[in-house]
């Protein structure tokens, strides 16, 4: 059987250092380092860069959304402040006694009858009341309509308007519609 002769690495020494052996160690070192870079370091760097990019993108997005939230929140607060009268008017329950007191300045109320409550434009409810009253002149009624805009509820004066002459007064029959929010804003806020 033929024997394979492995050539013996020659030993070249300079100042006692084995040049060939050290060169082989160095070459092997380079190979190992390249292998580690290719298999461990590069994927780690790639993953790191990817997650870092995602992190900064998300952070940037959060900053934008935070600014937007702040802006919307401020706008909402200023809107609420600016329209507090309207918002309160649509949330307050209608009180017949209070209304009679208010209307007393313009007419003598004989009766107020609640008629029906209907949905209005999805978000609101309108409750109608039939009012019988006595006025001295139609001007009282005009003044009442003008003053109703400052009343604590949102009131719409509505048909029919019946003016019937009495001895000293005019008997007036008319309807009012009181508008309220279907789901009150406060309830919404609490839910949030």
């Amino acid at each position: 059987m033929p024997t394979i002769k492995i050539p013996k690495i020659p030993r070249i020494k300079i100042y006692g250092i084995d040049v060939i052996k050290n060169f082989l160690f160095f070459a092997f070192y380079i190979l190992i380092i390249l292998f580690i870079i290719a298999t461990i370091v590069t994927p780690s760097v790639k993953l790191f860069k990817k997650t870092q990019k995602e992190y900064f993108l998300a952070k940037n997005q959060l900053q934008l959304v935070q600014n937007q939230y702040k802006e919307v929140s401020q706008t909402l607060q200023s809107l609420k402040k600016k329209n507090s009268k309207i918002l309160n008017a649509l949330q307050k329950e209608f009180n017949i006694k209070d209304f009679t007191l208010f209307a007393k300045n313009y007419m003598k109320i004989d009766s107020i009858k609640k008629e029906k409550t209907t949905n209005y434009k999805d978000k609101f409810i309108a409750t109608s009341y039939l009012i019988s009253a006595r006025i001295k002149s139609p001007k009282n009624f005009y003044d009442f309509i003008d003053a109703s805009k400052d009343y604590k509820n949102l009131i719409r004066v509505y048909f029919p308007f019946n003016f019937i002459k009495n001895k000293n007064d005019i008997n007036l029959t008319f309807k009012i519609e009181v508008y309220n929010l279907k789901n009150k804003l406060n309830a919404d806020e609490k839910a949030h």
């Binding site: 461990i40 370091v41 780690s44 990817k50 870092q52 609420k80 139609p138 004066v157």
Partner: protein, 171 residues
Amino acid sequence: MYSFTKPKPKPLFKEDTKLWLIFYFISILLFVGFSVFLLLKAYFYNKDTQQINKETIYLKQKILKLNTQKELIFLQKTLYENIQIKNSVIKTSIKNLLDLIPDPITLDKFLLSQNKLIIYGITPTKDVYNMLMLPPLESIFEKTQTYFYQLPNGWYKFKSINTIKADNAYN
């Protein structure tokens, strides 16, 4: 055979080999350590990103709710303004209709509904009514019917029924 030198223990690795091996070990350790550090950093970045994304989604939902509230306020404002305008229009309409009544004519009843106005009153003559009151009523309403009843003193009681088409009725 006898030797004059004492046998020295032969090391497993020569000095330079040992140095190389230590160098290998430290290098590998540094590279692996660096990779582990990056992986850990990536893990924490990932964790933070998830947290940030959750917060972003939560804020977006809050913004949606705030926008809904904003829309609701605008709706309320629009409704309020519409009602005020409608009240003002009603007031002007009634005032204008009552202002139509000329001095010689007195009213007993003035019944106004969405598409109909019925007036009961007294006029000295039919001509006064026909000349002073009928023309403006006819210009406003599509159909005007008047019924007269003579009174013992010669004056006339009248009933005027004025209608407009349902399409044009006041809402």
